[in-house]
Symmetry: C2
Subunit: 395 residues, 2 copies
């Protein structure tokens, strides 16, 4: 009767997140939005780069006949070539437009990749703390998630991954710069992961794909550059979007790219294009495909993000909160002063500070701060954090 | 090893469609595009209405801060209200923005609806001839398709539907104006369907939803108006897109709307919004949502389509081809002069006429003509159709 049992169960479980959101709305009505310190959302408050707006104006003023029609399910060849050119340059590999499918954001890309790869019961390794949507995406396509914890500093634990691999392991999802921790995996980690997986493939006679979810790849600080995964991992697939680097999350524009080193890559790409069609995406939005074609080397101004990271990292550390200094994305993932992270975020709410508990990322005992919000709100929040730290006898 | 078995099998089966597409490309290279009569694609060759272009220009010239950010997974309240207002007016029911979710086209909407409704093994009735994507969409979410043939005139066979309903039947998909036949279901048929399904629900103690896929609802001729399904069917869900009525297929903008008469409609809408998120759509493209808000009562010029329908219907009927005169969409679905429709479309190819066999829609012995192409190509094709008819001794 009624809707799917699984969906109904998930709605019940999701209700505490909604309760928290509603509490935020309630607080904003009482205290005003500038006095509620909402660190819960990953919705960038910046605008797209000026060149995006110029391109949009240029196209609106000079519409091209047929520019809103269907194109190949993989997307326009020009935009796929523009994506491939940058990937070829970064990886040193012969990436071309046939290795790229334009998608409805990274969320769309992940679903297309998982639909293409998974047989029922296939296992996908995810690293905790993880982006909670991964579990839904894997389940959508009949897969089973295997959670493997990262190290204390949130870096990849290759040994633990090796132990988790079975004959049913089809893929592992990595996310660097990471949501929720902000850490970036260095080249050596990627190479070590490739080595471990190759040995396991040899042992088990299987294929194990590394799905690298990289929407924050251009949001990195301290002069660090995120390594190109194609260079270090043979069976790698990049999924990403322009939600963060061009600040277009509502427009649902992203892509997937498969390393030319992947065996039978033509068949894999045919599968991806077909999956993009039958999942109902059909193609990435046409106008946005055109708009991002020339913007593959652009990004939003990240100096603002870096300043916010610094303010929060320095102040919270000084108050006694413990955390790994993030090198990218726009998140901090400090330790909760008490093991019960849900109790802690409820306490923070009393100071008008809204946080997401680590439990929401498969990592109880931590909490996530998302700092893609106005600097002034962050500055306003510091006295409240001080009171919160005092309440938990930190410092 | 490698990609999913199911995807690989589907790619093999899809190869004859690709072979036909490649044959078309080959013919175009030899004879020139104006001498190849390609009736295979449902990609409208018209441009969006002028008011769409003006809206796009206005927004590009006056960007609203935050207009590319995430919004609620259901979409902007304003556009949902604009959709709901028209539906309320057409149905006479209290439809409001909470009954609408903006989606990535009708393909996205159908996947969201099926994900929300289906438990594994649930049955979905589809009416042959049917849009082939329905089978993939139902399978994506663990459902099982039950095919029920329509009547000789392609209208709903309510008795056959009643016989096909089991305790596992969760939904039936109807499509009016229909792809591939162009027929429109009149009010009486919808009422009769509701009656039959209500009786079955009563008998079996189940819920059976009618999913009405209506992307062609505004493409109808002879002064006919497509009846609003909410008015005649209690548990009805509309899925549609602006791909055809505003000629925006590449932009992936559509919606789903649930009748306010559906029991527990709030829970159903919560499920739909959640499914839109976890399937990776997240939300319908932001800019397109804004653009279609004021265009809910607009449509492309259909006089052109009607003229093309008339030219083809009259000429092909005169040549001896048998077909139901379509009242909407931009398709004709004539009987193949020989039972083997694949052999017939291969024969047509020799006259540079490209058609889709009825087998592709679960209805062998017929073929589909899609006439959303240049009028001149249609006129050029008539002598070739004459030769083809002579070859099969028609007329």
């Amino acid at each position: 009767m009624g809707i799917s049992n699984k969906i109904e169960e998930n709605l019940k479980r999701a209700s505490w997140i909604r309760a928290m959101f509603e509490e935020g709305e309630r607080l904003r009505k009482i205290y005003g939005p500038e006095k509620v310190y909402d660190f819960t959302l990953g919705n960038p408050n910046v605008e797209p780069p000026a060149v995006f707006k110029e391109e949009l104006k240029r196209l609106a003023d000079n519409p091209i006949p047929g520019m809103h029609r269907y194109m190949s399910n993989a997307g326009y060849p020009e935009v796929r070539k523009a994506v491939a050119d940058v990937l070829a340059e970064e990886s040193g590999l012969p990436v071309n437009e046939n290795h790229v499918v334009m998608t409805v954001g990274a969320g769309g890309a992940l679903n297309v990749v998982l639909k293409t790869l998974l047989d029922p019961g296939d296992e996908v390794i995810i690293l905790s703390p993880y982006f909670v949507e991964y579990k839904f995406y894997v389940d959508n396509h009949g897969g089973v998630c295997k959670e493997v914890p990262t190290l204390e500093n949130f870096q990849i634990n290759t040994e633990a991954i090796a132990q988790a691999v079975t004959a049913k392991t089809k893929a592992i999802i990595i996310n660097s710069p990471n949501n929720p921790t902000g850490v970036i995996y260095p080249e050596e980690s990627l190479s070590a992961l490739d080595k471990v997986l190759s040995a396991k493939e040899e042992e088990l006679g299987t294929d194990i794909y590394v799905i690298s979810d990289e929407p924050y790849a251009k949001i990195c600080y301290d002069g660090i550059k995120v390594p190109n995964v194609f260079k270090y991992i043979r069976k790698s697939i990049i999924v990403t979007s322009h939600s963060k680097d061009l600040a277009l999350p509502g427009e649902r524009i992203g892509y997937l790219a498969v390393s030319p080193k992947v065996p039978k890559v033509d068949l894999v790409m045919e599968g991806m294009t077909f999956a993009n069609r039958i999942l109902g995406f059909v193609n990435a939005p046409a106008l946005m495909q055109r708009l991002v074609t020339k913007l593959q080397r652009e990004r939003v101004d990240i100096a603002d993000y870096e300043e916010k990271r610094n303010i929060l990292y320095e102040n919270l550390t000084a108050l006694g909160f413990e955390m790994v200094k993030p090198q990218g994305a726009f998140y901090l993932f400090p330790k909760s002063p008490i093991p019960d992270d849900i109790a802690f975020i409820k306490a923070a709410q009393k100071h008008n500070i809204l946080l997401v508990p680590g439990s929401g990322f498969g990592k109880p005992g931590y909490f996530r701060i998302s700092y893609c919000i106005d600097k002034q709100i962050i500055l306003n929040s510091l006295p409240a954090f001080k009171q919160l730290a005092a309440e938990f006898s930190l410092g």
